[in-house]
C-alpha cells in the first residue's frame, strides 16, 4: 500500500501547504509588515489592503507565468532556430514549411475541421436539446447522449476503430456493407472523405456538450414569447427558428466558438486513428510528427496554430469586457 500512502502524504502536504501559505502570508502582512498598532496604523491598514490581493494571486500567477507566459515566448524564440537549436535561421522554418505539400494539406484539412465539427455538433446538440425537452425520459436520453463526452479522445478513437475496421467481421460499417452484398472497404483510406469519418468522432463527443448548454438556454426562454407566437398562429418551424433560436443566439455563438477552439487543439483522434496518413493530417498532428525530431519546425507549427486561434481569443476577451461595462 506504499504508493497509496505516498499519494495521501502528497495530498496532505499539498493541501496543508496551500492553507499554510494562505494563513501565514496574511498573518505576516497584518502582524509583522504593517501592524495596525504603531502611530500610523491607519496608513498601515491601507497599505495592507493594497498588498493583500497579490498574496492571493501570487501562487496562481507564478504557476501561470512559469508554464504559460515563458513557454509562449520561448516557443517563438525556438522556432527561429534550426533543428539542433544552435543556428539562428530567422523565419527559415516558416518558409520551408509553407512550401511543403504536407503543411498545405494540414491547413486545408484543419479548415474543414474548424467548419464542419462545430457546425455539426452545435446543430445536432440543438436538435437533441429541442426534441428531448419536456419529454418524460428526456433526461435519460440526454445522459446517454452526453456520455461520450466523459470518454477521452484516445479512448473514443479506439472505440471507433471498431466501427471503421476494414475487416468486415469487426468493423460495423463493413459488416453492414457485407449484409448488403458490397465488398469491404477501408473507410479511413478513402481520399478526402476519410477526414469526415474522423470528424464524426469529435462530433460524437462534442454533441453532448452542445446539447447540455443549449438545453439549459432553451429552458431559460420566457414561456410567454412562445405562447404569444402560438396565439398568432405561428407554425412549429416558425416558432423554433424565429422565436426560440434568436433568443438563444448568444449561447449558440458561445458553444460554437468553444468547440472551434477545441477543434484547433485536438490531435489525439488523427494521431490514434491514421497517424496523419492518407492525407488526413491536421496542424496539431502535423506538429506531433516533428515533435521529437525537429523542435524548430514543431514550434513553428505551434506558432501558426497560435496565430489562427488569436482572433477567437481577442474576440472572447472583447466579449468579456463588454459584459463588464
Amino acid at each position: 500500500m506504499s504508493p497509496i500512502l505516498q499519494g495521501l502524504i502528497t495530498i496532505i502536504i499539498g493541501v496543508g501547504g496551500c492553507v499554510g501559505y494562505f494563513f501565514a502570508s496574511n498573518w505576516v502582512l497584518d502582524k509583522v509588515i504593517f501592524p495596525p498598532r504603531t502611530d500610523d496604523h491607519g496608513r498601515n491598514i491601507n497599505r495592507a489592503t493594497m498588498v493583500r490581493p497579490w498574496l492571493f494571486l501570487f501562487p496562481a500567477m507564478f504557476a501561470l507565468g512559469l508554464y504559460l507566459v515563458y513557454p509562449v515566448v520561448g516557443s517563438f524564440w525556438r522556432s527561429l532556430f534550426n533543428r539542433s537549436g544552435e543556428e539562428f535561421i530567422g523565419l527559415g522554418n516558416y518558409t520551408t514549411m509553407f512550401a511543403e505539400e504536407g503543411f498545405r494539406t494540414a491547413v486545408f484539412n484543419n479548415i474543414l475541421w474548424a467548419i464542419f465539427v462545430p457546425a455539426a455538433a452545435t446543430f445536432l446538440g440543438l436538435l437533441v436539446a429541442q426534441l428531448t425537452d419536456k419529454l418524460k425520459w428526456g433526461n435519460i436520453a440526454k445522459s446517454l447522449i452526453f456520455m461520450p463526452m466523459a470518454i477521452s479522445f484516445v479512448g473514443a478513437s479506439l472505440i471507433w476503430k471498431f466501427v471503421y475496421a476494414n475487416d468486415p467481421d469487426i468493423g460495423i460499417i463493413n459488416a453492414v456493407r457485407d449484409v448488403l452484398g458490397a465488398d469491404p472497404i477501408d473507410p479511413l483510406q478513402i481520399p478526402f472523405w476519410n477526414n469526415f469519418f474522423l470528424m464524426v468522432i469529435l462530433v460524437w463527443i462534442q454533441t453532448g456538450f452542445a446539447m447540455v448548454i443549449l438545453s439549459a438556454a432553451l429552458r431559460g426562454i420566457p414561456e410567454e414569447t412562445i405562447e404569444a407566437a402560438i396565439i398568432d398562429g405561428a407554425n412549429p418551424f416558425q416558432i423554433f427558428f424565429k422565436i426560440k433560436v434568436p433568443q438563444i443566439m448568444g449561447t449558440i455563438v458561445v458553444v460554437w466558438t468553444t468547440i472551434t477552439i477545441l477543434v484547433l487543439k485536438v490531435f489525439d483522434i488523427v494521431y490514434a486513428m491514421t497517424g496523419g496518413n492518407f492525407d488526413t493530417e491536421i496542424l496539431p498532428s502535423y506538429m506531433m510528427d516533428y515533435m521529437f525530431r525537429d523542435d524548430g519546425r514543431a514550434t513553428a507549427v505551434a506558432f501558426v496554430i497560435m496565430i489562427i486561434v488569436l482572433p477567437v481569443m481577442v474576440w472572447n476577451i472583447r466579449q468579456a469586457r463588454k459584459e463588464m461595462n
Binding site: 502528497t10 496551500c18 501561470l64 508554464y67 419529454l135 484516445v154 460524437w204 439549459a216
Partner: protein
C-alpha cells in the same frame, strides 16, 4: 415546448416519435455497445466468426481478470489516479484563492490580470510543448508523476480562476462587507464566508477537472514515457500492442480505461453539467 407538446399529438405521431428516439439512441451508442459486447465474449467466438451475435458464453471475469492481472493496466490506472487527484486539489485550491482576489478586491491591474487568465485559457497547448518539455527535463521531473501534476495544475489554473472569479462575482457582496464592518480578518472572510458559499462551484470544478485530467493524452505523451509514470490514456496504446488482434481483451481494456470518468460523470452528473454550463455561458 415545440408547438404542441408531444403528449397532445395524435397517437400515431407519438408512437413513431417514441420509437424513433430509442432507435436514434441505440445508433448513437452503437460503438460503445459493440465494444461492451466484444469485451465479454470468449476468444472462441472470434475464431468461429460469431462477432455480432450474443456471446456464446459470458467471459466477463476471465477477460477483465486478464486485463487486471496480465498487463500493466493496474499500474496505469493507479498512475492516472495519483496524477488526477493531486491536480484537482491543487488547481481548485489555487484558483479559489486567485478567484477570490480577482472577484472581491478592486485594485490596479485587476482587469488586466483577469484578461490574462482568459487569454491563458485559449492559448493552444501545442505552443507550450517544447519549452515545457525542456523545463521539465531541466527540473529533473521528466517521466515523473510530479512533473505532470505540476504542469497540469499550472495549466488548469487559468480556466479554473476564470470560473471561480465569475462565481464569486455573483455572490452577494454585502455579506462580505458586513463581515468587514464587523472587523473579521480577510483570511477568515475567505475561509468562513466565501468558501462555504462556493461549495457548488468547487464541486462542479473538481468534477470537470477530474475528467479533463484523466482524459489528457497530449501531455502524457510529451512528459512521460514508461509504465512508471504514464497515465492510462497513454498506457492503453501500449496495452493494445501487447494484445494485438485479441479483440476481446482490447475491448475490455478500452472499457476499463474509459470507465472512471464515465462513472464520475454518472455519479456527479449534476455537478458536471453545472460546471460546463457555468464555464461556458459566463
Amino acid at each position: 415546448m415545440f408547438p404542441t407538446p408531444i403528449e397532445k399529438r395524435p397517437r400515431s405521431a407519438q408512437l413513431s416519435y417514441q420509437a424513433f428516439l430509442p432507435l436514434a439512441l441505440i445508433l448513437w451508442l452503437l460503438p460503445l455497445i459493440a465494444v461492451a459486447n466484444f469485451s465479454i465474449k470468449p476468444e472462441a467466438d472470434f475464431v468461429n466468426g460469431n462477432y455480432w451475435g450474443m456471446p456464446s458464453s459470458f467471459e466477463m471475469f476471465s477477460n477483465y481478470g486478464r486485463v487486471f492481472f496480465e498487463s500493466n493496466m493496474p499500474r496505469y490506472l493507479l498512475n492516472s489516479l495519483f496524477i488526477t487527484v493531486p491536480t484537482v486539489i491543487g488547481a481548485v485550491a489555487l484558483s479559489a484563492m486567485a478567484g477570490f482576489a480577482l472577484g472581491v478586491y478592486r485594485f490596479k491591474g485587476n482587469l488586466f490580470i483577469f484578461f490574462m487568465f482568459i487569454a491563458g485559457n485559449f492559448v493552444p497547448f501545442q505552443i507550450l510543448m517544447v519549452p515545457v518539455r525542456d523545463l521539465t527535463i531541466d527540473l529533473n521531473l521528466y517521466d515523473t508523476k510530479t512533473g505532470l501534476i505540476l504542469f497540469h495544475i499550472a495549466f488548469q489554473t487559468g480556466f479554473c480562476t476564470l470560473f471561480m472569479r465569475n462565481f464569486i462575482r455573483a455572490l452577494p457582496f454585502p455579506l462580505i462587507e458586513a463581515a468587514r464592518v464587523e472587523g473579521v480578518a480577510e483570511w477568515r472572510i475567505f475561509w468562513y464566508v466565501v468558501l462555504p458559499l462556493m461549495k457548488p462551484a468547487l464541486a462542479a470544478l473538481a468534477v470537470l477537472i477530474f475528467t479533463f485530467i484523466w482524459n489528457d493524452y497530449f501531455w502524457a505523451v510529451v512528459l512521460t514515457q514508461g509504465p512508471g509514470a504514464q497515465p492510462v490514456t497513454a498506457g492503453i496504446t501500449e496495452f493494445n500492442s501487447q494484445f494485438r488482434a485479441a479483440y476481446h481483451l482490447m475491448s475490455a481494456g478500452s472499457i476499463v480505461a474509459a470507465l472512471p470518468p464515465v462513472a464520475m460523470f454518472f455519479l456527479m452528473q449534476k455537478h458536471f453539467i453545472a460546471g460546463l454550463t457555468l464555464g461556458a455561458v459566463k
